[in-house]
């Protein structure tokens, strides 16, 4: 393993961006390992685009710094962009060019350019001007213009927004093909992808890491497997004779902090467990609900996890169980 493989693809420390009194991005720390497909999720206006633009040196940070492929993001320019690709839904492309013209124009800028397979794979209409392309086709052309130079890092800002499922699948397939490119692995520099989206379902299938931005704050960033392992939707069936008793009478002691959104019905108790991988689920349930008869624990979709977090206002990485709102107020009070 060489030195580049050891350093993260992206490493940000207390990176923030403000516009006057408006804090677009609160100071955040972030590490994106090499070879990861890092999904940056959050609602519109959460700060995803700002973060990506800071990493690409399109915007200058108000504080903090970030290293991208081992280079300070503030100095990224010229040569650096032969290793870093950027695709955005809002990017202004040279609309007057044809697809072929765009690829021909870009080719001499990159020593590693190869667009032969991409044109076929993405079925690009080479003789059409970019301004005459549909949104999906434009995004395909933009992606082709990035994948063609085999970048070590690809940053994508809402690339799938508003695309039909077919085009979306084509783009994802092209991306994943790029991830499995043996030539990149042979060079010891696996491709890293950072992709922002507010559509959770589309990224769930291929993201390896996930970060959640909410109102300019990075609530958490961790591997997908870890997130999936931690979150469980738990359904507890209670003994029938207890069904006539009020709920309060069925529980003993304080409810564990790692249980979110508790719902109780006469014979059923449901909740979301955010540390199901580390805490003894059955023991906790038996202690808190002595009348429990069966305990069912189901994995959750990304969408379900985020809905649960949004409803409860908690951050899943917060072991103390304190709410996101509390965290916010603590930071604001400094």
């Amino acid at each position: 393993m060489n030195a580049t493989a050891l350093t993260p693809a992206i490493q940000a420390h207390q990176l923030s961006k403000g516009y006057g009194r408006t804090q677009a991005l609160a100071p955040l720390d972030l590490i994106v390992p090499r070879g990861a497909i890092f999904a940056l999720v959050g609602h519109n206006g959460a700060g995803k685009t700002t973060l990506i633009k800071l990493l690409m040196n399109i915007l200058q940070p108000s504080s903090g710094h970030a290293d991208v492929l081992g280079e300070s993001s503030a100095t990224l320019t010229g040569e650096s962009f032969t290793r870093i690709g950027y695709v955005s839904e809002n990017q202004e492309l040279p609309e007057w060019m044809t697809v072929q013209g765009l690829l021909d124009f870009l080719r001499p800028f990159y020593p590693t350019w190869d667009d032969r397979t991409l044109i076929q794979q993405l079925d690009l209409p080479l003789d059409r001007k970019l301004k005459h392309l549909s949104r999906g086709m434009r995004m395909k052309a933009a992606l082709a213009s990035v994948l063609a130079f085999r970048p070590s890092l690809i940053l994508m800002d809402e690339p799938f927004s508003g695309l039909d499922p077919l085009v979306r699948d084509e783009l994802i397939e092209a991306l994943l093909d790029r991830m499995q490119d043996p030539s990149a692995e042979a060079l010891g520099e696996p491709t890293t992808i950072l992709i922002s989206s507010h559509d959770l379902a589309e990224i769930e299938s291929f993201a390896t890491h996930i970060g959640f931005l909410h109102q300019g704050k990075l609530l958490f960033a961790e591997p997908m497997a870890s997130l999936n392992a931690r979150f469980r939707e738990v359904t507890v069936t209670l003994a029938p004779h207890d069904a006539t008793q009020p709920q309060a009478a069925q529980t003993q002691g304080p409810r564990p902090e790692s249980w979110l959104l508790p719902e109780s019905a006469p014979s059923v108790f449901r909740f979301v467990h955010i540390h199901a991988d580390t805490e003894p689920l059955e023991e906790q349930v038996r202690t808190y609900l002595p009348s429990a008869t069966t305990i069912e624990s189901e994995p959750m979709t990304l969408r379900a996890i985020f809905l649960a977090l949004a409803k409860s206002g908690r951050t899943p990485a917060d072991p103390s169980g304190s709410s996101a709102r509390e965290t916010k107020s603590r930071k604001g009070g400094r």
Binding site: E79, S88, Q91, P94, F105
Partner: protein, 506 residues
């Protein structure tokens, strides 16, 4: 070099409609402008206004092209495609400058060469002048266009910035003129301020391309005219004038002419110019070398009251001053009234340029003839004068003298025996940039005895001999003149009183 050339090729592909239009305009310019050269008189109204229209249209098209060129890789905004591509700012800027050089400046120079050739002048001999003209054009026209395009994202914003900038400059100039009323800047001011402007503008352009800090660049641009204005105010004017015009030692000597006959008439209203009264001090020049003459450039003076109440006035450096045998001093009307009829002491410092007459060169007028300094001339018989064409700039100051006919040439049967002698002159104008490189100078003589009552027609015809004498700057000199006691009111210029018309009797 590969990257600039690559971007240049892309820009040429993109902007071919604008470049085609530019070529068409240059061709139209080269075709239309000579139609307005003397002795041609365009008969159609269209051809009368077309040259002026093209003079306006060409800079507007340049503004559009610069906008399209720079905004193709806009430096303003955060959604541009090129920001995340391996462009280097030096390559990007170099490609834009190369584009202008290849597709704007070169065709423009070629068009100017064609016009010179068409005018009968030698284009190659004028290349240094054309390049200097191009430099002025770049500094005055293209540099502001480029800098403003670098801090805007679209043509409408650029155009709005241009208009706002012009209004800002006009307001600033008016304020400056108000606070420095009548003051003439020292001769070094223009090069100093032009250098400050050019260096500052280029620095903003480079900074913007290198760092893309819009706010800083815009603030710097707004500050630039203020910096220039403050510099102009802070320049040690007196010191610079004295440095540029060393004190004249020996001859010629200047003295006050106290002859009462040289005083101004005492009747009539004060002659005011720019709210100032003019004091014409008669002087006598002695010991002036032959074949030289003095041209006044600037003057400053102090006035002190002699005797009782101590009054003092110091005038700023003002233009002109010396006019043949008179030193003209402009001072505010209230200053004149302050000193009233009392005797005052005036100390005048004036800067002048001594011009030396060269060897006279006699030219016999013909349908086509050549004049000194490469002038290509021809007779404009109907107008009764000759027209000389020069490449790029006016010739040096020239005096000429020769015969003339008192009747139109086609009626003059006594040629070539033109007896009367007339004279005229060509004044060298300031060097500014221009689109038409052919300078037209009219050569006409007038009779020195001709006046309102006794007007004499003068016509230049083929066969007449004119003697051209060019004047060259020999030295810049400063003179000090002290007049210990004089009454200002005796030398104040007045509007002569006209006799009152008699009222008709009923």
């Amino acid at each position: 070099m590969v990257q600039p050339a690559h971007i240049l090729r892309k820009d040429a592909q993109h902007l071919w409609p604008e470049l085609t239009l530019h070529t068409v305009l240059l061709i139209a310019f080269a075709w239309v402008v000579p139609l307005g050269w003397p002795p041609h008189q365009p008969t159609s109204f269209l051809f009368q206004i077309l040259p002026a229209f093209l003079h306006l249209l060409l800079p507007i098209l340049w503004l559009v092209i610069v906008s399209r060129l720079v905004h193709d890789e806009s430096l303003v905004g955060d959604q541009q495609f090129w920001l995340t591509r391996p462009y280097t700012w030096t390559s990007l800027l170099a490609s834009k400058l190369l584009f202008l050089a290849a597709f704007i400046f070169l065709p423009f120079l070629l068009m100017q060469c064609y016009l010179l050739f068409h005018a009968g002048l030698h284009p190659l001999a004028a290349i240094p002048g054309l390049l200097l003209n191009l430099l002025y054009l770049i500094l005055i026209c293209f540099l502001p266009f480029l800098v403003l395009a670098a801090v805007t994202s679209t043509f409408p914003r650029l155009a709005l910035s241009m208009i706002s900038g012009l209004i800002y400059l006009i307001v600033l100039a008016l304020l400056f003129a108000y606070f420095t009323s009548g003051q003439t800047p020292p001769p070094q001011a223009l090069p100093i301020l032009a250098t400050v402007y050019a260096v500052f503008s280029v620095a903003v352009l480079l900074f913007q391309y290198a760092r893309r800090r819009i706010l800083y660049a815009r603030v710097a641009l707004v500050a630039l005219p203020l910096v220039v204005a403050f510099l102009l105010l802070l320049l040690p004017s007196d010191q610079l004038f004295r440095q540029a015009y060393p004190l004249a030692s020996g001859s010629p000597q200047v003295s006050f002419d106290s002859n009462p006959a040289a005083q101004e008439p005492q009747r009539g209203k004060l002659f005011l110019t720019n709210d100032k009264v003019l004091v014409n001090l008669p002087i006598a020049l002695s010991g002036q070398p032959t074949n030289t003459l003095l041209e006044g450039r600037a003057v400053t003076f102090t006035i002190d009251s002699v005797g009782g109440n101590s009054q003092h006035y110091t005038a700023p450096w003002q233009s002109g001053g010396l006019n043949e045998r008179v030193l003209t001093l402009a001072l505010p009307e209230d200053v004149l009234h302050r000193f009233g009829d009392q005797s005052v002491r005036i100390h005048v410092t004036f800067a002048a340029e001594r011009l030396a007459r060269g060897t006279a060169q006699t030219v016999t007028l013909a349908d086509h003839f050549t004049a000194p300094s490469g002038g290509v001339c021809f007779m404009a018989s109907e107008a009764g004068n000759a027209v000389c064409r020069y490449a790029v700039k006016d010739p040096p100051i020239t005096q000429y003298m020769g015969g003339y006919s008192t009747v139109p040439c086609f009626e003059a049967s006594d040629a070539p025996n033109f007896r009367p002698v007339g004279s005229g002159g060509i004044n060298s104008g300031p060097e500014l940039f221009f689109l038409d490189p052919v300078v037209q100078v009219s050569v006409a003589v007038s009779n020195p005895q001709s006046n309102r009552q006794n007007q004499v027609n003068t016509f230049l015809c083929s066969g007449i001999q004119l003697s051209f004498t060019q004047l060259h700057s020999e030295a810049k000199l400063r003179f000090e003149l002290d007049v210990p006691s004089v009454q200002l009111s005796h030398y104040v210029a007045r509007v002569p009183q006209m006799p009152m018309p008699m009222a008709p009797q009923e």
